[in-house]
């Protein structure tokens, strides 16, 4: 039972354009969402997060949007840079629960 889904296993974007990565969840108890970035042979690193009381959070080139009614969140990267090429994982958590539930990741490739 996959409660966090990233339906696009891969995405290619031209350098300088906007990258949009999508994530859907099914558990209505989730109230905190995170994006992690992973390079090959390294562990995931925290990128940006959003609480369910917000619908947008911005940090430099990265913005996360949350649509609670649709149980959908997205990560926007603009402008995309070659160093953004990595696997991006969406993750979710519920208050009072220690664990993060991850999606299966989207491999983003930025084309120079």
């Amino acid at each position: 039972d996959q409660q966090v889904k990233q339906n696009s296993p891969s995405l290619s974007v031209q350098e300088g354009r906007i990258s949009i990565l999508n994530c859907d969840y099914t558990n209505s108890m989730f109230d905190y969402f995170l994006w992690y970035k992973k390079y090959p042979a390294e562990g995931p690193t925290f990128l940006i997060s959003i609480s369910s009381i917000k619908d947008k959070n911005e940090d430099g080139r990265f913005t996360v949007f949350l649509n609670k009614s649709a149980k959908h969140l997205s990560l926007h990267i603009v402008p995309s840079q070659p160093g953004d090429s990595a696997v991006y994982f969406c993750a979710a958590s519920a208050t009072g629960n220690e664990k993060l539930t991850f999606g299966t990741g989207t491999r983003l490739t930025i084309i120079p």
Binding site: Y36, A41, P44, E98, T101
Partner: protein, 111 residues
């Protein structure tokens, strides 16, 4: 001065063997985790310890036994290894908030 370090990075072993993976964090975090990334790239929690106490055990087979000698260390021992145990195992720690710090992973291959 790596924040979360795991050893070994690669482990190739035969079916039926017993092996351990070590994890140490120098962040002063109270909570540590083991996650498994399987062949479908699904990152799934196995165990969580808070200050040496087990708080999450996600229906992992008894062959997997975590051990936390102190809050900076969480080791994973696996008995009677099976082919299906082949995966990448990630250790992580968490202080306040929801941001985890992950180790770089241990790729276990059972042959």
């Amino acid at each position: 001065d790596t924040a979360v370090s795991q050893t070994p990075k690669y482990l190739v072993t035969q079916m039926g063997n017993d092996k351990s993976i070590k994890c140490e964090q120098n962040l002063g975090h109270d909570t540590m985790y083991w996650y498994k990334q399987d062949s479908k790239k699904f990152l799934k929690i196995m165990f969580s310890y808070n200050n040496k106490e087990l708080i999450i055990n996600e229906t992992v087979p008894n062959r997997f036994s975590p051990k936390s000698p102190d809050k900076a260390h969480l080791n994973l021992h696996i008995n009677s290894l099976e082919l299906g145990d082949s995966a990448v195992y990630f250790c992580a720690s968490r202080g306040g908030g929801y941001g985890y710090t992950f180790g770089s992973g241990t790729r276990l291959t059972v042959v």
